[in-house]
Subunit: 215 residues, 2 copies
DNA sequence: GTCTATATTGGGATAGAC
DNA sequence: GTCTATCCCAATATAGAC
């Protein structure tokens, strides 16, 4: 059973208290952010007791970290595997290929509920104050980001590393904006439209990443 | 006396209670966001009474709107004037020229304090939950955004309007990411570095905006 | 592992004196 | 226009029974 399929089951059943809390917290954080979401609102929505949240997660911050880790860790694994598979294939690959391994995992979620929440959740973390977002981003994201930047440097040997860093940053920005905008709260996302926007995003960011100075 | 110069003076003196509250609120919102900032913390930092905030702004949301309007309105005016000047000049202009009129006002603030706060403030509003950000963005931003999209459509007649809309969106995303990242809290921003990043951002987004399909 | 009950603190908002 | 004092509610967190 793949990790992804397992998440699906969790999402559909939410058998135990711990997962009920995670599900409720996730939905509310997507809508109102960290500071705007109370443990009371979470446990009420989950149909469990307030004290249970502290028992399972220790604190509000602990719960917050767990909510993000549950969703982002599978994405990280998919990115890493797709990237290394591409590189180890021995065949030549382009900037666009690499970008696609980075962005596609966010769009390849099978479960419809996750299709709504995962992009919004990723978009949300970048909007949080640094005191909230920085520990999460460093734990979940910094290693794979370094790896991608190194790969881009290899593909674009004439572009300085610092310039690559900035272009990577612009790419993240375009991604976040797309994630936040295309699945606004409660709006069902049409799957075909969603995939079209992945293509648009890849084209846009690839053009910027490998830009040639043309005046 | 230009509006910009007037803002400078306000910022340096903060003579009256109303401006002291705005200044304090601005600094705290940049750091902790809307939900993470209390009226008590604001008025304490401003050295004024809690009730004064309600007297001048009616509510927390009213204060929030005022904080953003004070900074964003001059930017809107600068963008509008630069854009119409470019178009009315009669000379031909490029996508890059237009993008520069959009992005440059954020970088052309004279006052050093504003150079720190304005970008962070603009970056912040996009990270807020929709219930907070939407009213602000629609009031301050939607008209000028429509205008720019129309100009891009005129410059790129072969690109469908919907595609332009998405590319404009990606551009905003890159902008926000840059604004949020390059003036982190309390960090003094080196002016030369700051301007360099404007050039990078213009190049990146122009490449994506006028991209040609090259496989 | 889950509950009730509560400690403690902080939140937005307002009445009314000056 | 600014203050003190207060209302009322919500927040995180924990103690202790079951």
């Amino acid at each position: 059973m793949t990790q992804q399929a397992k998440v699906q089951v969790e999402k559909l059943t939410a058998a135990n208290t711990r997962d009920k809390i995670l599900d409720a917290a996730e939905a509310l954080i997507v809508e109102h952010g960290y500071a705007g979401t109370s443990l009371r609102a979470i446990t009420q929505r989950a149909g469990v007791n307030l004290a249970a949240a502290h028992y399972h997660f220790g604190s509000k911050k602990g719960l917050f970290s767990a909510v993000f880790h549950r969703r982002i860790e599978p994405v990280r694994q998919m990115r890493q595997q797709a990237l290394e598979t591409l590189i180890d294939s021995g065949k030549p690959y382009t900037v666009k290929d690499v970008i696609r391994t980075f962005l596609a995992p966010l769009y390849q979620v099978q479960n419809t509920d996750l299709l709504d929440t995962l992009p919004s959740l990723v978009g949300r973390i970048y909007g949080e104050p640094e005191s909230v977002s920085k520990p999460i981003l460093e734990a979940e994201f910094s290693e794979i980001a370094d790896r991608y930047q190194a790969v881009f440097c290899g593909l674009l040997p004439r572009v300085p590393a610092e310039e690559i860093r900035w272009r990577f940053h612009f790419m993240i920005g375009s991604m976040i904006q797309t994630l936040r905008f295309q699945s606004p709260l409660g709006m069902a996302v049409d799957r075909e439209q969603f995939i079209n926007n992945l293509d648009r995003l890849v084209e846009f960011t690839a053009a910027g990443m490998q830009q040639l100075r043309d005046g």
